[in-house]
Subunit: 495 residues, 2 copies
């Protein structure tokens, strides 16, 4: 019979083993259904529930969860999504009914953006950057009661894979940050696999409950139409000019790191940049961001050593992530957080971004369209602009009859001090903060002009005047990476 | 000029962007040398510094760091290591000098174990299980000021890979848990790779500083001699009997999950189990634990769907982790934590473990040898015994002239209530808590006897009497998974 002392100098009192040392039954985190998970998480009125947008416009999980929360009669919920798409139209009804009274997201398109712009929510929406949201989560500014992870596959202990199942979406960079801090994490999957799941992207230790549903969404919705290079002559012209500017800037040397948005002109630029790299025999270090099949082909062609991927933008990228270890996942925080002692965006040499509006101070609006309706938000726009050594914005001079170069952007998403040049079909303007860059571009024979000249041309081409800013109440606050506010969005229409 | 309100209803006061929005220079976490990292971490007297043992008896990082800390004149440090090996002999000097006054580890072998047993430390060592240490970290019981990660490769932003470099060690399951909670994390590498590192095992967001040194250790030390099946007739006999018992117990069906220690008899048992699986056409789900080349071959032979690996025990396992996605890493917490809502050990059907001593109550000692000198500790022993549905201990009746089956273990590492059967060269004893198991084994014609019979035989064969427990002061406390105390180790010799 082992007799132990009650207390030991330098250790303290001893706790003795008591009770059953082996679990009464084999553990499992699988619950009967979504309602059982909502019960387990003890979601109450006013709770904050988070969602991610890896399934993009094919996501079924946000709708599924909110329908159940509404059916339970919950009120005053805060939906903290990474992005909202047209597929989330039913959220409008949940806002109308008072089930949801607060919304924060990094990007909002479709009916929810319109409803918010018309003042449907009682509280202002918080629009964050991808990095800013990660920071807000990590610093406790955004407290999540329950994070719902749309899981392409999961086992009953909560190991989640983005790489298998009918709705495989590839990397899971956004929920990777949520699951670190949420009070409860629920994996919602339509593909329950035997333990342990293969190709685990989020490990079981980060997940509290697992729920199986018939479908988490429509895989066809992952690939949006924006992930191919534009092929019209204006777009390819802008792309070629932008690529020539990038080349002239001096960044195209071995080790070059690159990010583009997923817009057609950005990808046309990437296409042209890739050709120059191949011609010059330049091997880049990495391409980052949301990754498309286009980036995958650049990797395979040897233009980059690796891909750092927060989100796969199309199914070709998903397939690459599944099969090519050079294609790596990064969390939203690692991607873009301003609080990380350095994020991946801070190591990007050149980023190519789009614009809904661009102004004389080089500020960019990707949040609202002319007239003030919310059509997007920063996502990674402001993060990458701040991080990259060379930030290139490409834009046509007009769209839908409106000038895209305006005296002052309708919403300031990305501050002009973080933008180096804008490339249009009528030439390039270089930020006056970068005179040496303008010199290089001119020396390369590029058509460098003043932003005022591009502004005049855009105004001359415009068929519809830019509506003035609304003076209504604030319906959304556009937060910068650090939580400061770059602008507000005001209510459209009466009231 | 955009004019923003000072405050917004439902949002609060607005913080406005100020200062430079782009970093003045490209971030890097690479410091000049180890001393710069020690400065940056502001290590003071009494600090807790943590280390992991993936390089096993080839580890150079613990010694390197402690030498520098000693050179700085620091006193009263707490070394919180996962395991201590003979290669860490210089720690004895640092204890003697007062640089280190506290030690906690899950396993201690070699000169440090001897020194501790002789009372060199002023405070009792805390011996934890692998799962118990993860729990203590996660629950704030073990607070780490600086976690030093021996990084086979790292980039200057702190992305760590265990898969490349001359000292590639494979998975990094132990530091994965430390980096979640340590105040500061320092990656110490001898292979600085361009950003971003390929095959990232610990992402940059978990790492604060990177230091390059000429060598982090000797790769030859990773593969210890214990990772091959024993081939002598007594060992293979025990292995065959244990395998027959496992088969008779009924667990060998499709989906079978399995763990073995890395001892020769455990691996001989695995060998025999594998043969039965192959004969019966059984496909297991996974093998877990520290993984050896032997387990890798079982995976390749189709006996398991996957491997869950907290630590590669040999270079063949390292190679497999590098190249085979079915071979996955798990953190120490996920592996064995009792606080995780279910760890991997809780999903293991059968574990085969060794014993330094085994007693009439089925308790196991893997902490001290006869006479009370510390030669090990639980590691995952107590965790897997508690988690597995069938816990098999294999042991010879005697070693070095001492009986291995004793009236009462010299140190209680793993409680008998979590052990189902013991297999020796003279037969099997089944825990009286499992009468149905004894029935099954008898029905299969196996030599099931009583633990008293095995005890008598062991005592009859012994040439040296088991020394009585020391009555000296407590030099180590053996904590169970939950932080309760199963036993203490007392000082050997005078004083």
């Amino acid at each position: 019979m082992i007799v132990l002392p009650r207390e030991i100098d330098g250790y303290g009192p001893l706790k003795l083993p008591t009770g059953r040392l082996r679990p009464a039954r084999r553990p499992s985190k699988l619950l009967a259904d979504l309602d059982a998970a909502l019960d387990a998480c003890e979601i109450r009125d006013g709770a904050t529930v988070s969602f991610h947008h890896h399934l993009r416009n094919g996501d079924g999980v946000l709708n599924l969860v909110l329908d159940r929360l509404a059916a339970r009669g919950l009120k005053g919920l805060h939906v903290a999504a990474t992005s909202i798409f047209p597929v989330h139209a039913s959220l409008v009804g949940h806002i109308r009914s008072g089930t949801v009274t607060r919304l924060s997201a990094n990007f909002i398109s479709g009916p929810v953006g319109e409803a918010v712009s018309h003042g449907l929510l009682p509280h202002p929406v918080i629009l964050r950057t991808h990095g800013g949201r990660a920071r807000a989560l990590d610093q406790g500014e955004l407290r999540v009661d329950v994070a719902f992870v749309a899981a392409p596959a999961a086992d009953d202990m909560g190991n989640i894979s983005g790489r298998i199942g009918p709705t495989a979406c590839g990397t899971l960079g956004y929920p990777l940050t949520d699951v670190e801090v949420a009070q409860h994490v629920v994996a919602v999957t339509d593909t329950l696999v035997p333990f342990p799941a293969p190709s685990i992207d989020i490990p079981q230790g980060k997940v509290d409950y697992v729920v199986a549903v018939s479908s988490i969404g429509n895989p066809g919705g992952i690939a949006s139409g924006t992930t191919r290079p534009a092929s019209d002559s204006v777009s390819t012209g802008i792309g070629n000019t932008a690529a020539a500017a990038i080349a002239a800037s001096g960044v195209l040397v071995d080790g070059f790191s690159f990010q583009t948005g997923a817009g057609g002109v950005s990808l046309a630029t990437a296409d042209a940049v890739g050709q120059i790299m191949a011609e010059r025999g330049v091997t880049g270090s990495f391409a980052a961001g949301g990754i498309t099949g286009f980036h995958v082909r650049m990797l395979r062609d040897g233009l980059f050593r690796g891909l750092m991927d927060v989100q796969c933008f199309d199914l070709e990228a998903v397939e690459s992530y599944k099969s090519d270890p050079r294609h790596q996942m990064m969390s939203a925080a690692t991607y873009a957080g301003p609080h990380m002692g350095g994020a991946v965006v801070d190591r990007v040499d050149t980023v190519v971004l789009g614009a809904a509006e661009f102004d004389l101070s080089f500020n960019v609006n990707v949040t609202t369209k002319a007239g003030g309706i919310i059509i997007g938000g920063s996502g990674g726009h402001a993060d990458t602009a701040a991080g990259a050594s060379l930030t290139v914005v490409t834009t046509r001079l007009t769209a839908s009859g409106y000038a895209k170069i305006v005296p002052e952007v309708g919403t300031l998403t990305t501050p002009g001090s973080t933008v180096d040049l804008v490339v249009t079909e009528e030439g390039i303007a270089v930020n006056p903060l970068r005179p040496e860059l303008a010199e290089r571009l001119r020396a390369a024979g590029l058509n460098v002009t003043g932003i005022e000249t591009l502004f005049d041309k855009a105004q001359g081409l415009a068929k519809v005047p830019t509506p003035p800013r609304s003076q209504g109440r604030v319906v959304a606050v556009s937060e910068y990476r650090d939580g400061s506010v770059t602008d507000v969005v005001r209510k459209i229409g009466a009231g």
